[in-house]
């Protein structure tokens, strides 16, 4: 049972794991003939050293919070949703259609409308796999993988043939109307009278993400539906015994999951690019898996993991931008962080437990 105080498990273990990951990363950097110190300071400086860096870190984190939450909700129903990528792409399409075709005079109107569009499209893209899983038993892992590919093809078709302004090279939609542009956090800071994060893409969607975390927390741990989702996820026979309908829970959980993944688009498509580009998701759907698992499928953990990945993305981007270190190094560092904090955590926890047990035995 509890051999270790909770703080040690929640803070100490991940911290030591992170240090280990960084140590190995340093070795890799040394091996390719670069300086780990320079690399680390560039990353920290670039991602956390200024409001500018934070602006990007938070922007990426916002994406990862949405996709992480998406994976988490499904995971609690014991459904492994690898389809965040496709659902987020479709969410982008929803946002684009709403903003391009609905006359929305102000962002305060556009945001809820776009959120509905994003969530609806994302959820719709999750619906078929969910329904097939619930009714036909088709494995959701395969169907969601397939739906990622199908989404890519569909989006490509829509962008190239339907939404692309004539004569444009770029397989991207036209720009959304000026009136629908979301306020950036930098603008909000200026309105409050100080300068923060000028020219960074982080925008009001960040707060939407935070609110989403709270709502998801309420949903999963405070609502009856969440109780049923978790119960079903732990044991299907028990769920039946308790009168929980497996089909209903599977479909609802996946709809919520897909909707959350789709919501990512309000940050990347509406908030940042302000138009729909082909590659708007950029793997955030897959990062969401790592974020959810590392965040131990809890919104708070997901926020922390998303921040960590936001930091790695922005810090790594800075590394690629301003040093001669190849950008693939960041992928290696990400891999090591995922590995050590997510999969090798027991390597740290086991000795720690032994230490704490020894301390307690000596104490008593």
């Amino acid at each position: 049972m509890d051999t270790m105080p909770k703080w040690a498990d929640v803070i100490l273990t991940p911290l030591i794991s992170l240090v280990l990951a960084m140590a190995i990363s340093a070795l890799v950097i040394l091996a390719i003939g670069e300086s780990p110190v320079v690399a680390l300071t560039t990353m920290i400086d670039g991602a956390l050293g200024s409001s500018y860096g934070w602006g990007f870190t938070l922007y990426y984190a916002t994406n990862f919070i949405f996709t992480g939450l998406a994976v988490m909700v499904a995971y609690h129903a014991s459904l492994f949703n690898i389809g965040g990528e496709g659902q987020a792409a479709m969410g982008g399409l929803g946002v684009a259609l709403v903003l391009l075709y609905l006359p929305l005079p102000h962002w305060a109107l556009a945001l809820p409308a776009a959120m509905i569009g994003a969530a609806a499209f994302g959820a719709a893209w999750a619906l078929v796999p969910a329904w097939l899983q619930a009714k036909r038993g088709s494995h959701i892992v395969i169907t969601t993988i397939m739906f990622n590919f199908i989404a890519a093809a569909a989006l490509n078709y829509v962008l190239v043939n339907l939404l692309r302004p004539v004569g444009s090279m770029d397989p991207a939609s036209g720009r959304f109307p000026e009136s629908t542009h979301l306020p950036k956090l930098s603008d909000m800071a200026l309105a409050l009278g100080f300068e923060w994060g000028r020219n960074t893409p982080v925008n009001i969607s960040f707060f939407v993400a935070v609110i989403a975390c709270i709502l998801v927390w309420l949903l999963i741990w405070r609502s009856r539906l969440g109780f049923e989702i978790r119960a079903f996820g732990k044991s299907e026979p028990a769920a039946l015994y308790a009168g929980i309908n497996p089909v209903r829970i599977t479909v609802i959980a996946m709809l919520i999951s897909g909707g959350l993944a789709g919501l990512m688009a309000i940050n990347s498509v509406m908030g940042e690019a302000e138009r729909l580009v082909l590659n708007a998701v950029e793997g955030a759907g897959f990062i969401g898996i790592a974020v959810a698992l590392m965040g131990r499928n809890h919104p708070l953990g997901i926020v922390l993991a998303a921040l960590l990945f936001g930091f790695l993305y922005q810090g790594g981007g800075e590394l690629a931008l301003w040093t001669s270190i190849p950008r693939e190094l960041i992928i290696v560092i990400q891999a090591l962080v995922i590995l050590f904090t997510g999969a090798l955590d027991n390597m740290v926890r086991m000795p720690l437990e032994r230490i704490f047990l020894a301390m307690r035995n000596r104490g008593s």
Binding site: Y60, A152, G167, M169, E272, A273, N279, Y313, G317
Partner: protein
């Protein structure tokens, strides 16, 4: 100090980013100067990279790829003293030079050569990701081919709809083999890293291929008919050396912006008639006698 920003494909994309890199390198070697170069990780970094470079005083700033167009349009007005050059896209700002290539013209020449080299009357085109830009290559190639062999056929394949389509030599090879089995004996690959697989499959099958963007004739000497070179390197070199003149710079056949590469590796494949046909077409395109249709103008291709 000039600066160069690569598109997401990265500077070693076996395609136009790599060509841009070569141009910058040439400039650096010749002048002994230094330049800044940036490789991005994500879409959101486009603006970041532009602003940061402008703020650190880099000038001119050259970027490759149409995807920068939208962002540049936003950013350029904020830095009126900085000169920008964008490749493959038109951005109308007073301090931006837009460099566009007439890929259809170069591809047209490649099409002529393919038609003349083809025994079977069937050629193949393999594109990377299915996007309008690549259709421009495809359409120019088909026009050139049909100009010589109106009854011939051009088989068309695209590798995929995700960025993975640029890096799938295995699929490239399979597509080439499928086209070969349908009679294609010259295959034009406009597919980045995927094209490597196409050229390989063609060489393995003993048929000819056409490379793209940079000169790929050396990859399989004697097996690559030619390469449709797109002189992004020249554009970058020019911008670095002579600075940037706002407005649209059309790098067409006449300006040496596009061409078919002929060197020691493919010289034996070029018959005198072929050479004559190319020279003739080149002249007629320059004079305007032949107008190669640009797919981008109306999203259609006159020949199929």
């Amino acid at each position: 100090e000039p600066a160069l920003i690569f598109d997401l494909g990265g500077k070693f994309d076996k395609s136009f980013n790599e060509a841009a890199f070569m141009g910058a390198q040439r400039w650096a070697e010749e002048t002994g100067g230094t330049y800044k170069e940036l490789e991005m990780q994500s879409e959101a970094q486009r603006e970041q990279a532009l602003r940061r470079l402008a703020e650190t005083g880099a000038n001119p700033i050259v970027m490759t790829g149409f995807a920068f167009g939208d962002v540049l349009n936003q950013v350029a007005p904020d830095y009126p003293d900085t000169q920008f050059a964008i490749i493959d896209m038109v951005v109308e700002q007073p301090n931006v030079q837009s460099v566009v290539f007439t890929e259809e013209q170069g591809s047209y020449l490649a099409g002529i050569m393919a038609a003349m080299a083809s025994q079977s009357g069937t050629a193949g085109f393999i594109g990377g990701m299915d996007i309008p830009l690549i259709h421009k290559f495809e359409c120019g190639f088909s026009q050139g081919f049909k100009a010589v062999k109106p009854d011939g056929a051009v088989l068309i394949n695209y590798t995929g709809t995700t960025p993975a389509a640029w890096n799938d030599p295995v699929k490239g090879g399979e597509l080439a083999k499928a086209q070969i089995s349908q009679g294609a004996d010259v295959i034009y690959a406009a597919a980045g890293g995927t094209g490597i697989g196409v050229l390989q499959a063609a060489a393995d099958a003993g048929i000819l291929s056409v490379g793209v963007d940079s000169n790929q004739n050396h990859l399989h000497p004697g097996k690559v008919l030619t390469s449709m070179v797109k002189r992004v390197d020249n554009a970058v070199y020019d911008a670095f050396t002579n600075g940037v003149q706002p407005g649209v710079k059309v790098m067409d056949l006449k300006a040496g912006g596009v061409d078919v590469a002929i060197d020691d590796n493919n010289q034996p494949l070029i018959t005198p008639e072929m050479q004559a046909a190319i020279d003739d077409a080149r002249a007629k395109i320059a004079s305007g006698e032949i107008v190669v249709h640009d797919y981008m103008t109306d999203n259609t291709c006159p020949v199929q």
